[in-house]
């Protein structure tokens, strides 16, 4: 058996706090990838996890990332769920020459030299989702989001695309992260009677919203999923247990839903796209480090530039990845694919034409 280099790998997820379920799914993906790498007799490396838990406190991400990079010998860290926490670790990564593998959907408009983005950005979730939904349900949208960059940017981009397609935004409301005070939002939606609601809330806010919206749909058929569905770019199977029946009819976009084959190429039995993207990240890191003694000390830029094997999943210019886009609906407690688009490259600044545009809405001219 080939001798294995032991390479420390930082893991920076919050086991508690408002997005713990997502962290947990990512941890599962990381663990199964580490197990696969460590058990692979053809690979000359084994990852040694170095785990830090910021417990949902955004101010702990920077210091804990620094601790990993300075004291454990790890040069690579996989972690962060919110964009806010990701922004907090960038200075530390730059200072120590470390790299972050980021495995959750985000809003785009970033391409750090120190980060690999293995989940979807806007042209891989929101834009194809709107392009799918508007011709089928109508162009009158209501935008609900958590009061931070994810919610703001998703709503801004959705508004732009809805208007471009000839639709209209009937309302745009935000809740502080963690707030479950959804009654006013639901009441505004009830009065506005849109064709769809884009839910860019996270964690408990999203769960409370889905439960209240489900109740609204039961009392008023306009808000049943067949007439006015809820859309999401961040809800996956990993949060379905928190939603129960309230998720029925939800239409979501993501690179993977349970059972979908093709991405990541190694397997198709992941619990969610969060798990799959974290798995894909660790597997790609192992591939880049394999048979390159000392490669674990290289910067991400050199690791990618000096790799002589087959091209990997990472675009060297943007550090984003090519992903399938799957639009899926929750039916009977599981996501059922409605549409699949293959091979969409991450286009974080929406400038490379990797965009799936909504067709203009046709109007009856009378």
């Amino acid at each position: 058996m080939i001798e294995k280099r032991r390479i420390p790998l930082g893991i920076l997820y919050s086991a508690s706090g408002s997005y713990a379920l997502i962290s947990q799914a990512c941890r599962v993906g990381v663990s199964s990838a580490i197990n696969a790498v460590n058990a692979d007799p053809a690979l000359d490396l084994a990852f040694v996890p170095v785990v830090r838990d910021p417990a949902g406190n955004v101010d702990l991400y920077g210091p804990m990332c620094e601790d990993i990079l300075r004291h454990s010998g790890a040069n690579h860290v996989i972690g962060c769920v919110t964009s806010w926490s990701r922004k907090e670790v960038i200075p530390t990564l730059e200072k120590h020459g470390g790299s972050l593998w980021y495995a959750v959907p985000y809003e785009g408009f970033e391409a750090s030299d120190h980060i690999v983005y293995t989940h979807a950005c806007s042209n891989q979730h929101l834009l194809p989702l709107l392009a799918f939904v508007m011709p089928r349900f109508g162009g009158r949208g209501f935008l609900a989001g958590s009061n931070y960059i994810w919610g703001w940017e998703m709503s801004r981009l959705a508004r732009e695309r809805i208007m471009q397609a000839g639709g209209v935004v009937l309302g745009e409301r935000y809740l502080p992260i963690g707030s479950v005070d959804v009654d006013r939002m639901i009441e505004e939606i009830r009065l506005a009677r849109p064709d769809f609601v884009l839910n860019s809330l996270i964690g408990p806010s999203s769960y409370a919203f889905m439960v209240a919206y489900r109740a609204l749909g039961l009392s008023d058929p306009h808000f049943a999923p067949a007439r006015c569905p809820v859309l999401s770019c961040n809800l996956t199977e990993c949060e379905l247990p928190a939603l129960g029946g309230a998720a029925e009819g939800l239409i979501a976009a993501g690179p993977y839903f349970c059972g979908a084959a093709g991405w990541p190429r190694q397997r198709c039995d992941f619990g969610s796209s969060h798990e799959a993207a974290a798995f894909a990240a660790v597997m790609e890191l192992a591939r880049l480090l394999a048979h390159r003694p000392g490669g674990e000390h290289l910067s991400l830029a050199r690791l990618l530039a000096e790799h002589s094997g087959t091209p990997g999943i990472i675009d060297v210019q943007t550090h984003h990845t090519v992903l399938p886009v799957i639009i899926a609906q929750v039916r009977g407690g599981a996501f059922h694919p409605l549409r699949r688009i293959e091979g969409v490259a991450g286009d974080p600044y929406l400038t490379r034409g990797c965009d799936v545009r909504a067709a203009p809405l046709l109007r009856v001219v009378s």
Binding site: G62, S83, W84, K87, I90, P91, E94, E107, G108, F109, E110, Y148, I149, W152, E153, S155, R156, L157
Partner: protein, 206 residues
């Protein structure tokens, strides 16, 4: 052409940093203090009195990532001093908000060891230029509104037996002699009793 750039002496100038306690505030404070500014930090939460912190400051740095319209202690989009955005997320929605708030310059987070000095000078110059432009536009707009007064003044001078061209020439000479604008001179001639006239008092044109 623009006015020459005014390189302000920043010694003793006061800066307010609207950002929650953070290494960015520490780094920026160090830079500003080294340049010679007095620095205060505030963030609108709890019983923080941002208005009190903002009184008498010369520059305001603000967090473009977590900021919102209500955080500034002045009427929306009317900052009384140069504003500098502290930008972490370059999402267009945030840039748009920072611009609407009135940012004239920006510093990217993480703020390190430099950048504050050029941001201060650029923001100061842009702020002054914008102020001057606003004042000029307001003056031009006011003068445009006085067109009718000019016509009336010329008509009054013509009533004394002068042809139009000569009456207009006389009005211009009066304005030059008084060292005021043509419109203001017309206002003096038409007089304050006229409802549509200028606001200058007739008594001082003799």
């Amino acid at each position: 052409m623009k006015q020459p750039i005014r390189i302000q002496n920043l010694g003793g100038a006061r800066a307010l940093i609207l950002h929650r306690a953070h290494p960015t505030v520490v780094a920026l404070t160090r830079q500003l203090t080294a340049i010679g500014l007095e620095v205060r930090q505030a963030w609108p939460e709890g019983d923080a009195d941002v208005a009190a912190d903002a009184s008498g400051v010369d520059f305001v740095f603000f967090d473009a990532d977590m900021g919102h319209d209500g955080m500034f202690p002045w009427p929306a989009q009317q900052p009384p001093v140069p504003l500098i955005a502290l930008i972490g997320s370059e999402a267009p929605g945030r840039i748009e908000w920072a611009l609407r708030a009135g940012a004239q310059a920006q510093l990217l987070k993480p703020v390190g060891d430099n950048g504050a000095y050029s941001a201060l000078l650029i923001a100061r110059d842009a702020f002054d230029a914008q102020r001057a432009l606003f004042a000029e536009v307001a003056d031009l707009r006011r003068r445009l509104n006085e067109r009718q007064t000019v016509v009336r003044a010329v008509t009054m001078l013509m009533a004394r037996g002068k042809p139009e061209a000569e009456a207009y020439g006389q009005l211009r000479q009066m304005a030059m002699a008084w060292r005021i604008s043509l419109e203001d001179a017309a206002g003096r001639i038409v007089g304050p009793t006229d409802q549509t006239g200028g606001r200058d008092d007739r008594r001082d044109w003799g």
